[in-house]
Amino acid sequence: MSKRIGMEVALAAAEAVGMCNVDVAAVYPITPQSHIAEHLSDLVADGKTDTEYVTVESEHTSMSICIGASATGARAYTATCSQGLMLMHELLPIASAMRCPIVMSVANRPVNAPLNILSDHSDIMPQRDAGWIVIFCENGQEVVDLTLMAYRIAEDKDVMLPVVIGIDGFILTHMVEPMVFPDQKEVDKFLPVYKPYATLHPDKPLTMGAFAMPDVFPEMMKAKDMALTNSKKTIIKIWDEWEKKFGRRYNPVETYRTDGAEVILVSMGSMSETAELGVDMLRDKGIAAGVAKIRLWRPFPIEELKAATKGARVLAVLDRAISPGIEGAPVYTDVKAAFYDEKDRPVIVNWLIGLGGEDVTGEDFVEIAEKALKAKKGEHEFLGVR
């Protein structure tokens, strides 16, 4: 029987990981991920999950441990954010190219300088091209569900790629929310023991991580690109299966009041719920507004995004990370590129909001939508800059 309990979201993330029969976890604590690191070690200490928990000396080593363990056929887990994710950066494209189905929770936090421990997406954006599946959560229930589904996706023979579950720091990690946890037996049925395709073991010696010259390198890159692009089908299939079993639906792009919307806010992560509040306020004022929420950041769901925003005259893309030197932040440039070949392109503007944990209110979304409606072409503006 599933049960509904109130709990801090970071602890819930650890609880969900604890239900996944993880073989090896290697986690280096960093704010605001640290409650995940702590609670998972509680679960291991109490024997609630049979996991080798390696208390590493850095994030670089936590990802190295995960790759090594995954290569032996073990289910591997880690969690980090911010500087820790930046330190891991070198290893992320290796984990995906070596097809290690690792799952990593990222408690999204800004990158220095200046140091800031709150929340935005500037840690995950530099990892955009690392070849990982990246999924964003909006609330605690999504963290539980998407974590439980992550290994099913990662280990699927048609995928075999690592997965990031994005959990905005503090705004989401440190909230206490009611969440439904499925029964362990149901989880075990949904997520069976990992059966790896190739492993490091003397019974069948394999060489993993050989170096390659241009005779094969471009083909390997194409294979990696195709693997991530094609993973979308399997991700949707597994989300469909989840809905049938547990009743909660997940889509690559979620929508809120987009029917007949003239302006659509395109958001990602925890601020989406506040954006819904802003949309309600806009609708009350007689402005036809809606929200399209990107859940699946990579592979980028172009078709789903176009379908979700169909008919809108204006899109206001909300970014939580800058991309210095170009008029537009990462989500904006991708969204804009996606619409280039369309005959009736919407006006697409860009707003940099919630940087470094800046509080974004419903009123802010009203202001953004109203300004966006007046825009004639792409604009690039920062919220809260004097």
């Binding site: 073989d23 670089h60 290893l91 003397p202």
Partner: protein
Amino acid sequence: MSIIGNYDLYAPRLIDKKEYLASGHTACAGCGEALAVRLVMKGLGEDTIVSNATGCLEIFTTRYPTTAWEVPWIHVAFENAAAVAAGVESGIKALRRKGRIPDRDVKSVSMAGDGGTTDIGLQALSGAMERGHDMFHVCYDNEAYMNTGIQRSSQTPFGAWSTTSPPGEVSFGQRTWKKNVPEIMVAHNLAYVATACPSYPIDLINKIKKAKKLKGPAYIHVFAPCPTGWRMDSSLTIKIGRLALETGVFPLYEVENGKYRITVDMPDPLRPVGDYLKPQGRFRHLTPALIEEIQERVNLEVNKLKNKVNYSKPWEELR
């Protein structure tokens, strides 16, 4: 696996006949590292998983789609071989406990050059050793970053030429002495730390076997002469290893549960360091005064080692 002809004639029961590092790899002629790895693998046997740092060894053994490795082998990056080996060990441990792989000992071993061990890889190595994984690390010390083109490392000896420690109008070459990483490993309270050299194959294999038998972390620092980087004739690899021992430049010793022991005796008195320096082009610019400075330092280091041999006791006797 290939079997060397007439092997039974001269090395019965001493060395595993099987080759775990196949021939046909692309190491330079006279490569001390390739020779050392071949011997290390004979000590390790087939129930081994190797985690290899980026470097010469990785490059000359695994050009895709070929491999020289007869045992499971993984390469991830430069500075993290020990961390990857720790992950391999953790994975094997968990899977064995859960009954998903056969219930037998499989040793996780990390291998790296002096760069991947004593410089960029020191943190990952220290972490792996401190946490007590059942694994060990082998450093193949060829005294510079050979794979990138002979740049200096913390193991490049005083006075040596390298492409980033060139002698010039105001420079005599490398200005620092070798960082003593075996001693740093001893400070991690490892049950076994040793130095080895392919010029003394039985000694090397015995040390690998000791480290393999141990339940827990160990460290072996292997002297790996590099004719290309040391600017010497490729026929001199074995000889230069012997000269390193006979001059006291690279003594062979082990530290077992805190007790230091010299495993291959050095002559008394030692041969002059000039005998070791002279065949190597990397030292050709050295003045008699610099050679004398090196001689004094070598004497000091040998005496420091002998002092530890004389006065250290196994931990058991100190309880």
